[in-house]
């Protein structure tokens, strides 16, 4: 159980966490005290019956455990790996008060991996209803919604602009956290359930608005793929990457294996990553694996880092240097990057989000050497498709406004995932998508949905 040593893992892209053995899983499951009022279930955005699946693990019924999880979550191998369990299910586990919470995420992953390797089961599909639903985008939201809709007998066509389905799971999250064959296997289940996955189809361009309108319902799950830039001088220099570009080149295009794969990437000797979220951690750890000295620059304190704690610790173990309370103000260089000018930040009052506001300290400017800079400071919904949809309302951040069932202000159009919420998490995207799928199902059948009807 546990992580491969940092000294070994920084030389490859194989999974860091090796997962639980069957014996370990059973022992861990036996720690669960089977609360009468389990907080963990409420802590899970899709409400998995956690005590029940853990009880099945304790009885060594791994396949049964998988079936329990899959009633609520069809991508458990993914969620078990990338969910921020510490603030969700595990965060409210009663055992966490005195000792360690039950490792729910690790157990979920174990069960999912076991099922996939020993007894893969394709969910049953209902009689065809004759309704056709378009799902645009194949990230966690699109996948989760397609599962629900296909299960209920609707003919689902999924459009994906890239050449591989999976969204951020494929192009963003590195293989050492989420192996691509795991994503692939979960996507393949969809194909077996009859979902028509059309890659290389950009909705709004390869598929027109009129063509979308011909479907009985449309779920927009296009994510938040638009990278933000800081807007500081020097950003145009070669050697400045958005995290999306950096990660896409490596994860989707395998640029780390250039020239065996054709897509190039600059490796960099000294790489500066700006940001403090999961995306920043992933970028820093990828750069480490490509042989660079990596400095992560974040404007707030360690306790404010939005990334998952475990991943921050792993990044540190892997030799990523953290430069906290620091903000870049200028990128230096002639044609390509040679350094980054930064200032120190001081913590003062709490800002609107309740976090301490970071203010630059006067006269504190200093320079760090760098030949690559990766900006991981956030991203917003890609406007490409959604700006062409007439009759929909947009939120402040360019997201699609939806009601609690994922319905947009346009008839028969729903939205879920990051495009509706802004950049969030895999499980929240899935939870929203599932809700939207159920609402679409009810709408198609002409049944009431929402008020008073439980999910």
């Amino acid at each position: 159980m546990g992580d491969r040593p940092a000294s070994v893992r920084i030389h490859d892209f194989l999974e860091v966490d090796t997962g639980l053995t069957p014996d370990e899983a059973v022992i861990e499951a036996e720690r669960c005290i089977q609360c009468k009022k389990p907080g963990c279930v409420k802590g899970c955005p899709v409400g998995i019956d956690i005590p029940a699946f853990i009880a099945a693990v304790a009885q060594k019924d791994f396949v049964g455990a998988a079936a329990i999880i899959k009633e609520e979550n069809l991508l458990p191998a993914i969620c078990g790996r990338v969910c921020p369990q510490e603030v969700q299910c595990e965060g409210v586990c009663i055992l966490g008060v005195k000792e360690q919470p039950v490792r729910i995420g690790a157990l979920e992953r174990f069960v999912a991996d076991w099922e996939r390797e020993h007894a893969p089961k394709i969910p049953a599909v209902a009689e065809p209803t004759g309704y056709r639903v378009a799902v645009v985008g194949s990230g966690p939201a699109g996948l989760a919604a397609s599962f629900e809709l296909a299960k209920r007998g609707h003919q689902v066509t999924m459009f994906e602009s890239l050449h591989a389905p999976g969204g951020v799971l494929m192009y963003g999250i590195p293989a050492f956290r989420l192996p691509k064959d795991v994503v692939q296997a979960e996507v393949d289940q969809l194909r077996e359930m009859g979902v028509d996955i059309r890659c290389n189809h950009l909705a709004g361009a390869s598929v027109s608005m009129e063509e979308l309108d011909h479907f009985d319902a449309v779920l927009v799950a296009t994510g938040a793929g638009l990278p933000f830039f800081m807007g500081i001088p020097g950003e145009q220099l070669s050697g400045v990457y958005s995290a999306n570009e950096f990660l896409t080149r490596v994860n989707l295009m395998h640029a780390n294996r250039f020239p065996v794969y054709d897509t190039p990437i600059k490796r960099g000797r000294r790489v500066v990553v700006v940001g403090g979220g999961n995306v920043a951690m992933d970028s820093a750890r990828v750069a480490r694996r490509m042989g660079a000295k990596v400095t992560l620059v974040y404007r707030r304190r360690a306790e404010d880092l939005p990334a998952r704690k475990a991943e921050v610790e792993r990044a540190a173990e892997e030799g990523v240097k953290f430069l906290l309370c620091t903000n870049p103000v200028r990128i230096l260089g002639d044609q390509s990057v040679s350094g980054v000018e930064c200032v120190r930040m001081e913590m003062c009052d709490l800002d609107q989000s309740g976090r301490p506001e970071a203010v630059p300290v006067e006269g504190s400017a200093f320079t760090i050497e760098a030949d690559l800079l990766v900006q991981a400071i956030g991203q917003g919904p890609n406007p490409l498709l959604i700006r062409r949809l007439s009759g929909v309302a947009y939120g402040r951040k360019g997201n699609l406004v939806v009601d609690e069932n994922g319905k947009t202000t346009r008839e028969r159009y729903y939205a879920a995932g990051d495009v509706a919420t802004g950049a969030a998490t895999v499980i929240l995207a899935m939870g929203g998508a599932k809700q939207a799928a159920l609402a679409i199902d009810a709408m198609l059948r002409g049944e009431p949905f929402g008020e008073g009807k439980e999910e």
Partner: protein
């Protein structure tokens, strides 16, 4: 998989390939491009949509590096793994009056669709095409059939005017009132040629070709500076107001992977020699 229906050489190192890509063909408009990935290990490269017929789209490209050489080796019946598109914004074509479309080298490939749409919008369309010499000139007959007039220039005078398309453009502007101009070719040619229309303030579009990855606004690789603002060529472009484009920056960013491009070619040759894979031994 996307099937190659026809492939042939048009000029030295310039090739024309028709591929079956219905989703692209159905929606393609002038000024748009597609992205090709040849095989599992391939790079995603952008190419202009040069013509459309039924389910087929035509691409025309110069074999410069590894991917375009691989494309050049394709024959009828071969397949490429991925084609995505149409991408980018269509050309802004209106009934302006008298318009000129200028193409340099392989950039001429973009002109047929633009010229055709401009004519059907009611414009009088003048075509100007130029190349290093007569052997590099493409689509002359085709464009002669689409444009109201067509003028030709070669750097060495082996065909048409001895000189640059910019000279011919200057002439036309001095003769008639011109309402709108498109200039498409290598960055340096677009930079120089668009200076011709600048003093008179003639609306001029260029089609920018920065390095791209996804082509959908997701990676930010294709950022260019237009009027001092950062824009993404793949979604805000590829056509922009020529007089606002920072061409120096474009060229600088285009050069960023020169070393890797060389390495890729070397790897390709080495690999091709050892096992014959990847090249076409016709």
């Amino acid at each position: 998989m996307y099937r190659v229906e026809e492939a042939k050489a048009l000029a030295e190192r310039v090739y024309q390939v028709w591929v079956r890509a219905p989703q692209v063909a159905r929606h393609a408009r002038a000024g748009q491009f597609l992205i090709v990935r040849i095989d599992e290990r391939g790079e995603r490269i952008p190419l202009t949509i040069s013509a459309v017929q039924g389910d087929l789209v035509r691409i025309i490209f110069m074999a410069v590096g590894k991917t375009t050489r691989q494309l050049a080796a394709l024959e009828e019946g071969d397949h490429v793994l991925d084609i995505a598109g149409p991408l980018g914004r269509p050309s802004e074509i209106q009934n302006d009056g008298r318009v000129i479309v200028v193409g340099g080298g392989v950039g001429i490939a973009s002109l047929p669709l633009i010229a055709r749409e401009a004519r059907s919008a009611g414009n009088y369309v003048i075509g100007i095409i130029g190349a290093r010499n007569a052997d590099f000139l493409i689509l002359e007959d085709e464009l002669a059939g689409i444009c109201d007039e067509l003028h030709v220039a070669t750097d060495d005078g082996s065909r048409g005017h001895h000189g640059f398309p910019a000279d011919l453009l200057k002439q036309e502007i001095s003769r008639h009132k011109i309402d709108c101009v498109w200039i498409i070719g290598p960055a340096i040619m677009m930079k120089v040629t668009s200076n011709v229309t600048r003093p008179a303030g003639i609306k001029t579009f260029v089609s920018l070709n920065p390095v791209m990855v996804d082509g959908t606004g997701m990676c930010g690789s294709c950022r260019v500076s237009v009027g001092g603002e950062t824009r993404f060529a793949c979604v805000d472009g590829p056509e922009f107001d020529a007089h606002l484009v920072d061409f120096e920056l474009l060229m600088q960013r285009q050069r960023y992977y020169l070393e890797e491009e060389k390495e890729s070619m070397e790897h390709y040759h080495e690999h091709a020699c050892r096992c014959g894979e990847g090249t076409h031994h016709g």
